[in-house]
Point group: D3
Chain length 66, copies 6
């Protein structure tokens, strides 16, 4: 029944990587906290770099500088 919401920058992870993260995070909750994997939900939000800020700048701005 637990619920995981993961936010990452958009377009940088493949469907296979996302599937593996979902599988492994579900396993972590089962092994460490005894949570039922059948009702564990994982939702991945992929966010545009224009819409993600860190250190007061967007990720788009940060990458341009490097």
């Amino acid at each position: 029944m637990p619920m995981i919401n993961l936010k990452i920058t958009k377009g940088e992870s493949t469907a296979a990587q996302k599937a593996q993260v979902i599988e492994e995070m579900t396993e972590v909750l089962q092994r460490v906290m005894g949570k039922n994997p059948e009702t564990t939900i994982v939702i991945i939000d992929e966010v545009e770099t224009d819409n993600w800020g860190i250190g007061g700048q967007t990720v788009t701005q940060r990458r341009r500088q490097t």
Copy 2:
């Protein structure tokens, strides 16, 4: 003033269905909890089936198996 965030899989609900859910959920909060409908906000996130996991698998994987 209450705030509802609904997450569903993407592309499976029409604009009319979404409008009806917004109308009815707002009415439920008014009738049951006395919340002012004028300031009740409902935000619907539609999530790709690659980005939604349940039972340790993505919804994409689950549907392929059936």
Copy 3:
């Protein structure tokens, strides 16, 4: 499999009201969108009035003025 997150001000709704809202919102998603009620999750966050702002003021401040 849908997921509803409801945010309301704290301490103003009884357990019975919360249970009724959960029941009715789950029914709305089933009837309007065909969602399976068995896997519909509803999570209610109750927020202190000091931590809820509207119109640039906390709810605590607004209520003091009335």
Copy 4:
């Protein structure tokens, strides 16, 4: 380390406006609460007007009426 999630309607703000909001909100948390800007995260979700409800109607419906 604080985390800000901003939800606005989609396609109504430019990249420059979003960057400025990220910069200023990060500065507000630093100045008012002493939060380290280097680890302050801001995530902006842009939501379709069909998926945003207020007053029991979608924003799409509301705008059509005006």
Copy 5:
């Protein structure tokens, strides 16, 4: 820079279990997606069983029945 939000029922996990979940989920994102662990944030919300619904009932109601 990724952000994980985990919602679980309240008072059923120890500080040690929560710390281990944080450590392992951060490691999963690093190994599978190449995310920098130094800027990976995990926030755990613990939710009262009166405030968590599944199958149209609160977890409190469900447990009473068993």
Copy 6:
């Protein structure tokens, strides 16, 4: 109508600081994006340091080390 959700560590900000952040963030959205302050909602979640992870450790663990 915009919605801001701010997550900070618990018990480190006064009611006055939270009220000021709400006021200023609402003003930023009005000035930069033209958003109506009357319908701008800000919700602050205060999170226990045991429930906040960064760099694979809880904030509780990090502070103990310093």
